[in-house]
Symmetry: C2
Subunit: 416 residues, 2 copies
């Protein structure tokens, strides 16, 4: 391992022990200092960000990505606001979850504690640097942040501002470590540091997540790929259905909880599909349909097998006619990314079947999938949306960055 | 991937969907049938086990390992008893953990559900085949069992008996899959099957666990390595301390919750160490000490740096003199495997400091470390003792083989 990464890891680990013992109040003071410092140092951050934006333009970065990379005063204000909101949440650590006494008199309890050191590997949005640092500190964890190379100057500047802000507070500056090297090999080194990092959270596109899952020796929480479905049952309220589909697909097509597939019950397909497809096309959505869909709306492009697996993150939607709720469930459980799927139906029985049988982090009844989000669920800011089943599933907020330990109180107890 | 492993994975995945929807009652019927079948087919299992034992003798397997491999009627009776005990536990799935209503009227809830397919990779003890199958079925999960090659005939026979026992019950026989190939490459294939297996639990020695952690692309729960410590503070009840140390070290030295290291406060070392070491030696324990220990008891062998990291699983104990509770905590957090560590003290302040600051799954006050065990904690049979912080920490029983999903109930809700 390079001395650079080892040093970062050691500092984070040492800081994590201090941080784990701090009161909620001390962590909140740190978070508020961080928020104030972002606003006070906006010029410094914007100057660094300008360097990244210029370099990205020279490289020919697409407008949509440039927009994610570029900061302005308003975005910095939002980063500060997010830190203040996180500071206002209840302290997720220190609670005793449960205690019980064994027949031999041994008292056993479960104490909620921070995880330790969280590694975050992410792509171009520099606001993740302060958002992730905030959630980690709130939950008592040190954080190692490795952002995309395109945002390296912005991330380093934000990291310096946040670390400086912690001086004189109880929170050690070393609790925030920004990896200042854009080198890919450095990121891969980070994925080997089991001794120091307790969990790795990748945030970004499917390729980034796949790389981290495959290369990491540290436990990973897989986040964010969302091939989300809406199934319209034959007894759905069709007037309600169309606004839900449009909202789920179009309100923000580039995010993980946007719907990518529409499944329609065969008994209403002829009546419903022409209306739904016309509305989607009005919003600029390209439709890719199965054979049955194309019999009903002939000018729809044919969907390939690969389409059913794809998260478009764009104004494209796959449409399929299904026999019944069981066929919808089978299709979704086969092709979905286990993120968010919704059934539109008036039937409690069908809704219950769907909720029980769909193997996804969030299952909806008569609502848009766009609500899968820490703030929308009322859980506070999130570090990602877990699509795996271990540890945390769905929006991961500060409370999900904690673990427990058992304490066992004896009076000379030995095992017989 | 080989057709063989793909087939096993597909069958387990399909069975997991059926199993996830079963009532607690239906699963319990399956478990009781499994228990009865083990007893009724003891001869068949013993005959297969005899083949494994003969082959192991030819290969020159050590007596202690032969003892773990060999089954008899009593051990089979215990396997059946364990299944019956698991069937008597409360159903860990199906509960609604919490529901709440958002300001927009959306109702959100958390439902406890099975994980799906659990892979277990383990070493020579064939009872793990039925123990792990029982816990997985109780928690609604299909299981893929890959035991050690030494026990292959025993494991295949147990698997056949258990699968046959499920015929006619609601539990699909395919919920239990025993990998019948002793080939290492097959085990490595299993570790790649992310599409089908949701979590992999390695059970065995440090080498097995390291291999699985490094090669698996499936989320792993690391189990079992226990480099456990006992710290004797200056104000410990010394009469109580010696039986605790002897119990923790000697009652069953080959298990993960046995103590491997003894740390003694410098202020009592001169008085306490000669007594403690004499008692340990009476029990046949070899002592390896630091410099201070060897000043007090000169015929103690010198411990190396490596000793402080080592889980001996044998009648060997490392002994070190430490300055105070802070030094004990620093040593343990550096060298321990984060399993179980105990402080012996009369001081509430010191105990609290130790409990809060030791970064381990179970932290003890005035008791032997030997209680870290699902049944001793009152949690029921365990599939392993997790030493990582994600998902489950400490003894993992049926309840820890579950996850949650969110359900979201709307009335045409769309995101603004």
């Amino acid at each position: 391992m390079s001395a650079y990464i080892t040093e970062i890891c050691k500092k984070a680990k040492a800081a994590s022990f201090t941080l784990a013992q701090l009161s909620g109040e001390a962590k909140n003071v740190g978070l508020c200092h961080m928020a104030n410092a972002l606003e006070a140092n906006a010029q410094k951050i914007l100057a660094a960000n300008q360097m990244d934006v210029e370099a990205a333009k020279v490289k020919g970065m697409k407008a949509a990505l440039l927009d994610r990379l570029a900061l302005d005063k308003k975005k910095i204000g939002n980063m500060a606001k997010e830190l203040r909101e996180v500071s206002a949440l209840a302290d997720p650590v220190g609670s005793i979850e449960r205690t019980w006494t064994r027949p031999n008199g041994l008292v056993i309890g479960i104490l909620r504690v921070p995880i330790g050191v969280v590694g975050v590997i992410y792509e171009s949005r520099p606001n993740v640097t302060s958002d992730a640092a905030g959630i980690c500190i709130k939950s008592g964890n040190a954080v190692i942040l490795r952002g995309g190379s395109d945002a390296i100057n912005s991330n380093v500047a934000i990291g310096e501002v946040l670390r400086d802000a912690l001086t004189g507070t109880g929170v050690p500056a070393d609790a925030i470590q920004v990896v200042a090297s854009p080198d890919r090999a450095v990121a891969e080194e980070l994925m080997q540091m089991r001794e120091y990092i307790d969990v790795l959270v990748p945030r970004g596109g499917a390729d980034l997540i796949k790389t981290v899952v495959e290369k990491s020796k540290i436990p990973v929480i897989e986040t964010g790929v969302g091939n989300c479905h809406i199934y319209v049952s034959e007894d759905a309220d069709q007037k309600q259905a169309i606004p839900i589909i449009i909202n789920a697909k179009c309100q923000r097509p580039g995010v993980c909880n946007a719907a990518e597939k529409l499944l329609v019950d065969v008994n209403i397909a002829k009546a419903f599909l022409p209306k739904a497809i016309a509305k989607l096309r009005e919003e600029g959505v390209e439709i890719r349909g199965d054979e049955e869909t194309r019999k009903i709306v002939p000018d729809v492009k044919a969907a390939t097998e690969q389409d059913w697996y794809t998260e478009y993150l764009d104004l494209v939607m796959g449409v399929k006619v299904v026999k019944d709720v069981a066929a919808a469930i089978a299709h979704i459980n086969k092709y979905s990314s286990h993120h968010s799927d919704s059934i539109l139906t008036a039937s409690f029985d069908k809704a219950l079947k769907f909720i029980k049988q769909i193997d996804s982090a969030a299952v909806y009844w008569n609502a848009s999938t766009r609500f899968t989000d820490g703030n929308q669920f009322g859980l506070g800011a999130e570090i990602g949306i877990s699509t795996q089943k271990l540890h945390a599933r769905g929006p991961m907020s500060a409370q999900h960055l904690t673990t427990t330990k058992y304490f066992v109180l004896g009076r000379g107890h030995i095992r017989e």
